[in-house]
Subunit: 252 residues, 2 copies
């Protein structure tokens, strides 16, 4: 029953944050009566809340427990002051992401009101290949992960997106050589991002931090030292033990 | 079993983010074998992760699903740009909180590296009576909630904390009259906060936003218009339908 309840919770996504009982039943591939019983238990626990229109959404109690995840919490607390510093200089977007399988998961973003538009959101996932943070997370990872990413066709978000596997491999080698990643108009045509690796005590890359600014206004070379300095500050600031069992694959 | 799994998850707290199987069994009041089975299922779903030392903590997957909670997500996305504006002026702490029962739950905070120290954290709870956001959340709420708060002795965090029920009621009336709350050295002796209400489309208070600055440097009257303007901006920016079924108790 616990695995089934997990399937019900996993039916929610950024695209579908509110679902009816019928939709929950269909998306979790469970009979309606089972779904009804599970939803009722989950609602009792505060993990689901019922909307006025009868649909269900994830409850604040689940967010509260989820906020105790050390990879999110420890990282976020360590990163925020340095992200603030980056934001004060750029006044656009500052992002923090970790890798989950073959995708990046955004754990924090700071954005001004006049910031250049980005396609990502906190708690949301995004492919690794076109973004600055994604390339950092891919540059120091085990070959098996790179192969899994390259096993499916790479989506072209703009005419500038690198979609050729060999070209992406070369780009990852360049990221390793210079210590930071650049995405110039590869996600949206009006944005440029520069990303650098956040490392744990043992040198493994546990996250990536980036600034996203309007394309054509700043050279990545000018932004890189600042982003790298922030990434080093976050790395020093990390609660060390939290990260030990996780993602030891890559070392920059 | 779902309710029992919820009890296992609820065993984690900000004070105890990592727990052994024995601790989980004791804190959720379940037999060790049952706990073991539940923990195993929860780990399979990515809701728990096992630490190198054998203890368990909340998994990033649970944070990811929890981040879909509309009261957190919608509020946070609506609030962040305005919180940035407040941060740029004050360079200390900017906080956003909602009420959960008789406590406040902090859903976002922006803090600079040299910000005055605060006792609260994102995802954490705090009593309502001493803080700026707490008094805003208490000022426009049903009398039953105020009574529940006053039913237990109010803790004195500093010699300045208002702990007399009648004095707190008068303070709440003052908050309603002037439209914002002030906490001057009532949580820590070095901090002053000014908080204002965030309202949904129907006028219900759904959250509170505050700035926390060093005590003795700024008058609350100077900070209040800025905080109130930010709170109004967030209120306008809220996804309306999200909030409809929640907390209709108070109207400012």
């Amino acid at each position: 029953m616990v695995r089934r309840a997990a399937r019900v919770l996993a039916a929610f996504s950024p695209d579908r944050p509110a679902l009816s009982l019928t939709e929950l039943s269909a998306r979790s591939a469970l009979p309606l009566t089972t779904t009804h019983r599970l939803v009722s238990s989950l609602a009792d626990a505060g993990f689901l809340e019922r909307h006025a229109d009868g649909r269900y959404h994830v409850g604040l109690r689940l967010w509260e427990i989820g906020a105790l995840a050390p990879r999110e919490l420890g990282l976020r607390e360590a990163a925020l002051p340095f992200m603030e510093d980056l934001y004060e200089v750029t006044r656009h977007n500052v992002q923090l992401a970790v890798r989950e399988g073959t995708e990046s998961l955004y754990v924090e973003r700071i954005a001004g009101r006049r910031a250049v538009r980005v396609l990502t959101r906190v708690g949301g996932r995004f492919p690794l290949h076109p973004t600055g943070v994604g390339r950092v997370l891919l540059a120091w990872v085990l070959e098996t992960v790179v192969e899994a990413v390259l096993a499916v066709p790479l989506r072209a978000y703009t005419p500038c997106t690198v979609t050729d596997p060999e070209a992406l491999r070369q780009e990852l080698a360049a990221v390793r050589a210079r210590g930071y990643a650049v995405n110039d108009r590869q996600v949206t045509l009006d944005a440029l991002s520069v990303a650098a690796p956040v490392t744990s005590g043992d040198g493994a890359v546990v996250a990536a931090v980036s600034v996203v600014v309007p394309a054509g206004q700043h050279g990545p070379e000018a932004l890189a030292p600042m982003v790298q300095a922030a990434a080093r500050g976050i790395s020093r600031n990390l609660p060390r033990t939290t990260y030990a069992p996780q993602r030891k694959e890559g070392r920059p």
